[in-house]
């Protein structure tokens, strides 16, 4: 369920880093808690994001929730499919429904994130 090569935040985001680029998304647990997601608000390409600061928001039938960036850097890509198909976030949050790609400015930050095992303990799923 939770890929071992991803790193996780306490706010239920994940990041997968490949060659200095981090792909960011929300976790299966997050989408399950939010319920049916109806709208996703993402930053523009080129904007700067900071670890722990708001990156965008997701809106479900129940509530609007902030997404916090797991890493600092510059947004290099945004998942455009989510604007027309927000339901993908419920269906495949760890895969096709990634949110943004970030060029990392401080790769050392990754050490502050959780492993898959730690995250599952954190959410009580292990």
């Amino acid at each position: 369920m939770y890929p071992d090569n991803y790193r996780y935040t306490k706010e239920h985001e994940w990041v997968l880093v490949e060659e200095g680029i981090g792909t960011v998304g929300i976790t299966h647990h997050a989408q399950n808690e939010l319920g049916d997601i109806v709208y996703v608000d993402l930053p523009q390409i080129g904007s700067a994001v900071l670890q722990g600061k708001t990156l965008g928001s997701v809106e479900s039938v129940k509530a609007v929730s902030d997404i916090y960036s797991p890493v600092s850097g510059e947004v290099t890509a945004v998942n455009e499919t989510l604007s027309s198909e927000p339901e993908k976030l419920n269906e495949d949050p760890h895969g096709v429904a990634w949110l943004v790609k970030v060029k990392l400015s401080a790769p050392g930050e990754l050490s502050q994130l959780m492993s898959a095992a730690d995250y599952q303990t954190y959410i009580g799923a292990a």
Binding site: D36, V38, Y39, E59, V61, K62, A63, P86, E87
Partner: protein
């Protein structure tokens, strides 16, 4: 379209667009008694159209019946208990309406000269005095049109005062049990928002507040009682911490129905607050009428209050616009005057002891419901309840039924749903506020309904998941409606 041999009032109602037949009219205009103007020549041909596409053409009686039938689809406080938590849906006494229709008040014009509007100004002055006595504050503006407008006005006052002291500061602290509008208010007023987690009793964590309150924090926005229906026992200490760091404390007064006549925000250290007259003081709301969100402040904020301010010159009252430090106007004219009249009527009809009794009854009713329902629903925060009680759906969720499903089933039992899924710190919240205006008989009906639903969840969860079953329209697909909204009616042959 919905076709029927004849329209029974219990059946659903089609759209007026679908009733249209060409040439029908619901009006007759008198003969033209001014020169005919060629619209195309006056406005430009491109701005004039002969036909409005699909504009419904119906007769007068068809239009009347359509809207009258729709009006019977409403649920209203006049039909039964309306337990929407944090909204204080109390009965609106008819005397309020009678007073608001007094000729001199109902027909007053905003441009009426002040010497001819002294009665109206006296109403405003009397209401200001009553609200100051109730809140323990020093000055009040009646102008904001609703709660969120009041919040924004209040935070702009904080900004104005701090700016006059040299630094508006950067962020506002908002506890996770605060009203959902508070963070939005802070952001609209140009502040960053910083959350503070509640402690295990559902109250502000003073240690967390100590850590967070630094010289970049403009204010703490607190809702007291919080959206958990819990009184902040350490509110005095919390205000002392903020004040010692040069910050302010704003109180969201949405839950003032638990405090009126018992305790006063001004006495427990609040600097700025708003009141929801449409909640606490019984004026219609929830589609039934406009609101009013007066903002009450301590003396240091008075120079910054919106213009105009009421002032007395000799015996007479007048509006004062000469207030150089004011944040300016926040609304046209003088607030929702008709709402202010109703609130004053309510306050005067009750008097001080009556208002206090209303508060005590509101707390009693909420605790009666809490006690009756506690065997059937989980309650994560068990601190004493004030005017509302908050359960979670944890027990029912194990059987696949969530708070939203229980709320829909409640409609089948003839009640308006409680507040669903809020506050967010309670998993699957059921937030129930009965208000003081409900009798024990009505509360018992409501309690019986929820107990019955709790048992249905055990025996037939699927049925509850598909509720409501007895309404004109069955379960609405809220997800598709939000994901793929249809914002404009399209004729059947064009779909």
């Amino acid at each position: 379209m919905i076709k029927k041999v004849r329209s029974h009032i219990n059946r659903d109602e089609g759209l007026l667009f679908e009733r249209s037949s060409p040439g029908k009219r619901a009006y007759q205009l008198p003969e033209l008694d001014v020169p005919l103007v060629d619209a195309a020549a006056a406005l430009g041909k491109e701005n004039v159209r002969e036909q409005i596409e699909h504009f419904p053409e119906v007769s007068e009686v068809e239009a009347i019946r359509h809207f009258t039938r729709l009006s019977t689809h409403n649920y209203a406080i006049d039909l039964g208990l309306y337990p929407l938590g944090s909204c204080t849906m109390k009965y609106n006494p008819r005397i309020n309406e009678q007073v608001a229709r007094t000729e001199g008040l109902a027909w007053a014009h905003p441009y009426q000269p002040e010497p001819l509007a002294q009665g109206c100004l006296e109403v405003l002055q009397s209401l200001e005095s009553a609200l100051l006595e109730i809140t323990g504050m020093d000055a009040v503006t009646l102008q904001p049109s609703a709660g969120a407008h009041g919040e924004w006005t209040g935070i702009m006052l904080v900004r104005a005062l701090l700016t006059s002291r040299g630094n508006p500061r950067k962020r506002i602290l908002v506890p996770d049990s605060a009203h959902g509008t508070n963070p939005a208010t802070a952001a609209m007023a140009g502040y960053g928002v910083e959350g503070i987690a509640s402690n295990e009793r559902g109250m502000i964590d003073l240690a967390a507040l100590e850590r967070a309150a630094n010289d970049e924090i403009a204010a703490l926005m607190v809702t007291n009682p919080s959206t958990l229906g819990i009184f902040e026992e350490n509110i005095v200490k919390a205000t002392e911490i903020m004040h010692s760091r040069g910050g302010m404390v704003y109180m969201d007064g949405a839950n003032m129905n638990a405090l009126v006549g018992v305790t006063r925000p001004g006495d427990f250290g609040i600097d700025v607050m708003h009141l929801n007259l449409h909640k606490t003081f019984s004026t219609p709301h929830g589609g039934g009428g406009p609101g009013a969100g007066p903002v009450a402040v301590k003396k240091i904020f008075e120079p910054f209050l919106p213009v105009p301010r009421l002032k007395r010159i000799g015996e007479a009252l007048a509006f004062d616009y000469d207030r150089p430090q004011s944040i300016g106007k926040v609304r046209a004219y003088y607030g929702n005057f008709g709402v202010l009249v109703r609130a004053l009527a309510y306050i005067m009809a009750h008097g001080g002891p009556g208002l206090r009794n209303a508060t005590l009854d509101a707390i009693l009713n909420a605790n009666y419901i809490r006690k009756q329902l506690q065997p059937y629903f989980d309650m994560p925060y068990t601190s004493p309840s004030m005017h509302e009680c908050v359960f979670s759906d944890d027990r029912q969720a194990k059987l696949g039924v969530r708070t939203g499903d229980i709320a829909k089933r409640l409609i089948d039992y003839g009640f308006h749903p409680y507040t669903v899924s809020f506050p967010l710190i309670v998993h699957g919240a059921l937030m129930i506020e009965p208000t003081e205006t409900e009798s024990k008989d009505e509360l018992d009906l409501f309690v019986d309904a929820l107990i019955s639903i709790a048992k249905e969840v055990e025996t037939d969860p699927e049925m509850v998941r598909k509720a409501p079953h007895l309404t004109r329209t069955s379960r609405v697909d809220e997800v598709t409606a939000a994901r793929k909204p249809v914002l404009r009616w399209v004729a059947a042959d064009e779909r």
